[in-house]
Symmetry: C2
Subunit: 192 residues, 2 copies
């Protein structure tokens, strides 16, 4: 009944999403107009409004889809992980693989004129999912200092991630996970 959506709907939404992702490479989200997206993919402007209330809503639907996929992947992974506890950074590798597979969208969302709200969302996610794994390894210190530690690590991780996306994914997800893990647990600086 509900399962198969109308092809026309699927097509329209797909085209609009592609157009938005494409534009986001060039300019900030909030300066992208409904008109230019519709012109781009020959969609009537009225049609746009029958699917989304505005550009922000279109963007949100893209982000939600991405996060839903991610959540699903992680849920499945942590089920497997329950059994074999031998590789703690498996989650991180999976994360980088996910990013690589959705590189076009992720790059658009996380690049310089990406969506700050989405970046913040990822930031919270990284803090919970990634740093959570290492939380027990950090010395407590006072609470305030730990806040700064986390701010440093989360932003640092995001920076690496952005650099990876911008520089054409030349490293493998495994290499990225390994390097990031090292930075977090052992620090970056090696004295001469």
């Amino acid at each position: 009944m509900k399962q198969g959506e109308d092809r026309r709907v699927t097509r329209t939404r797909r085209l609009l999403r592609q157009a938005l992702v494409k534009r986001m490479r060039e300019k900030s989200v909030s300066s992208i107009t409904v008109k230019e997206l519709c012109d781009e993919c020959d969609i009537n402007r009225g049609t746009f409004y029958s699917h989304y209330s505005d550009v922000a809503a279109l963007l949100e639907s893209i982000e939600n889809d991405l996060f839903a996929q991610l959540q699903q992947m992680l849920a499945q992974l942590s089920a497997e992980e329950m059994l074999s506890r031998n590789n703690p950074s498996r989650t991180m590798v999976a994360l980088f693989e996910f990013l690589r597979e959705n590189a076009d969208i992720c790059a658009a969302l996380l690049c310089d004129n990406g969506d700050p709200a989405f970046i913040e969302r990822v930031r919270v996610f990284v803090r919970r999912e990634v740093l959570g794994e290492w939380r027990h390894m950090f010395s407590d210190g006072d609470g305030e200092r730990q806040e700064y530690t986390f701010a440093f690590l989360v932003s640092g991780s995001m920076g690496m991630l952005q650099h990876w996306l911008e520089s054409g994914l030349t490293l493998t997800p495994e290499q990225m996970a390994e390097m990031l893990t090292e930075f977090i647990t052992q620090g970056v600086a090696v004295m001469r």
Copy 2:
């Protein structure tokens, strides 16, 4: 002749800058209209256009002023530094002091819906001025790895900085400089 600018001009520009900084706390730059800024401070819209071509130009003038101040401060500082080479993090302390003094503007520019272009500008700056000091302390590794190291450190530093601005500047510039220096040179993680 040129030195004392017309009071009216000064007043208009000051009001517009204040209005923009105020709005930037609430919404993204590119969604701020000329009209709402003019309404905010009772300035005729025509007057706005006799000073700036658009909102982006107004923003740019604020950023340029800030950077000019910063450059001047650093130039003066490095002159002193030439003589007494005993305290390598003096520059960093001065940087945090500068940020605290211009906290309102900096918070607006660097917060979640700040200006990505400005954030990038600061990023480049941090990389040159701050990390340059420690460059000799990093093991070389291959070039690519160093790129990731720098991406990690620069973004991490920015993250700490943003957290500082957002959390009401509860630490002193000295404490911030000390902590950041430690993170960069020794890493963050202390194993239990």
